[in-house]
């Protein structure tokens, strides 16, 4: 290979192709990260924002604030309530759908419907169903004879109500991903298990579960990350109430930035959330790495 000069070695017209995407991504996705750091160490009004350098006091404000800890606790409650149930149910449904059953396409479409509808519209519907004398409580009363709770007005039931609605909304997405994962398991492995006389339960634990572990891992990480960012359901259904029982981190961020106009504190909070998501993703990766089986 002949040695080319610096200018001949590269195709400089590449930058022409990169320009539209790079201009947007650098301006609105990369620069803001650094800008957020600057904002988080300043305090001021909406117009003269960079007047006062305040060091880390915005961070200090956030982590010593009881509202932050409420919101953190509520978010964890939401994540722990949503992710495992979501994984269990969607895997279960995907396995049922993978049994060469009739009507697969129809089921797939139906389970996927909530995924593409907007959270806002569907939140209004669930809010309506969750009313004290709403259809859900009529149904519960009809089945059990016990009057249901006033879901969204009750500090005990508001978060479970949001969790149930979110599981319902996101289930279909994970069903599709699990189904794709299940369909990638080579049929020869199932044949081998059959020859060895393994029952359904054994086949699941020894063939299916290890073979789809990369998919399970993907679903777990993705749904954890997105669950930490829950917002629209809360905004639409409870407005963070009653008594802050559903104020999640992003809702608190929204209040800091949009209602109180404390942009520095909001930025600090966003960074803290980012670090938490990052740490949890990292830990999940570390703990599950040994158990995930890649071909």
């Amino acid at each position: 290979m002949s040695k080319k000069s610096f200018f001949q070695r590269y195709e400089w017209s590449a930058y022409f192709y990169l320009f539209p995407a790079l201009a947007v991504i650098l301006t609105f996705h990369v620069l803001p990260v650094f800008y957020a750091m600057v904002i988080s160490v300043h305090s001021g009004g909406m117009t003269n924002y960079f007047k006062n350098f305040v060091g880390l006091s915005n961070f200090e404000y956030v982590i010593t604030n009881k509202h932050f800890w409420y919101s953190m606790w509520n978010t964890l409650y939401y994540v722990v309530g949503t992710v495992p149930v979501q994984i269990f149910l969607s895997l279960f449904i995907a396995i049922l759908l993978n049994q060469k059953i009739k009507g697969l396409e129809m089921y797939r479409v139906i389970y996927f419907l909530p995924v593409i509808t907007s959270v806002n519209a569907i939140s209004i519907v669930w809010k309506y169903m969750y009313q004290k004398y709403g259809v859900l409580n009529s149904f519960i009363g009809f089945l059990t004879g016990i009057p249901g709770p006033d879901w969204l007005m009750d500090t005990t039931w508001a978060m479970p109500a949001i969790i149930i609605m979110s599981v319902w909304k996101g289930l279909g997405y994970n069903v599709i991903i699990f189904l794709a994962g299940l369909q990638n398991v080579p049929p020869s492995l199932y044949d081998a298990a059959k020859i060895d006389g393994a029952g359904r339960w054994k086949t699941f634990w020894n063939v299916t579960w290890p073979m789809i572990s990369p998919t399970t891992f993907f679903v777990m990480i993705m749904s954890t990350i997105s669950s930490f960012q829950v917002f629209a359901q809360v905004y639409m259904m409870t407005g963070g109430g009653p008594q802050e029982s559903t104020t999640v981190v992003i809702y608190y961020l929204y209040q800091l930035a949009y209602v109180e106009h404390k942009m520095g504190r909001a930025s600090a909070l966003a960074f803290i959330l980012f670090l938490i998501i990052f740490a949890i993703t990292y830990l999940q990766k570390k703990f599950t790495a040994k158990r995930v089986h890649y071909n």
Binding site: Y10, E11, W12, A14, Y17, L18, P20, A21, L22, V24, I25, T27, F28, H29, L31, P32, V33, Y35, A36, I39, L96, Q99, I101, R108, V109, I110, Y111, F112, L113, P114, I116, T117, S118, V119, N120, A121, I122, I124, V125, Y128, Y133, V135, N137, S138, G172, I176, I177, G181, Q229, A232, Y235, M236, I250, Y254, Y258, A266, A270, F271, L273, F274
Partner: protein, 278 residues
Amino acid sequence: MFKSIKAEEKFIGTLIHIFLIAGALTMLAPFLWMILTSFKNKFEALDSTIIFPAKFVYENYIIAWTKAPFFKYFLNTVFVALACTIMQLFSSSLAAYAFSHMNFYGKEWLFNILLATMMVPQQVLLVPNYFILKQLGWLNTFYALIIPWSAGFFGIFLLRQFFMTLPKDLWDAARIDGCSRLKFFFKILLPLSAAPLTTIAIFTFVGNWNSFLWPLFVTNDQTYYTLQVGLSNFNQSEGTEWHLLMAASTFCVLPLLIMFFMAQKQFIQGIAHTGSKE
């Protein structure tokens, strides 16, 4: 327990269908309730023991539609979602072309910077982008809704992966025939990439159609409201006018539902594809 393996299979098959049908009904019930309520009168909507309206009140749709400027919200949303989708397709395919076919200075670290943007949650960007848009004078304009989402790493990555699976001889053969880089991109690469382009188009369109936190932040003028922001305001102003709220919810989800029924294969394949990437 069972007389034969066949009887057991049949029993399990029935059990599977019972589970799946129960699940499917749970998925559909809120939609059915939404549609039924949207045709009820005010008093029927407040009594949850009434399942079917005595008389279908079609006027609910007209009242809801005209009570807030939903037609305007609709046009705004279609415009924003379409513009984002077209620009996203354009910018990501060009960038993916450079990353997959060209050798340029800084390729490696540029790609890594873009990869890192995937890790940053949107919420971190919210406040700084508010200031950036303010300095650009773009708050309360369509620019604020469109430009920041007119490119993204997801599309670039998906297309780059796809372009790299195409045989290298393709470009070599084209070059011998005197084909330029640009011509190769438009005449050969793009026509081959219908599948990944469709996936990106669907994701971008649906994402922007349903986007809420961003438009809530960067617009506070009704002229630029999207459907989701408009609907959330309608939710706050109408309180317990459930019949109207259900009518509004119905017409807000309808366009995407229709789109989904028309292209459900592409939707589902697109999602299944992104899931198996890991």
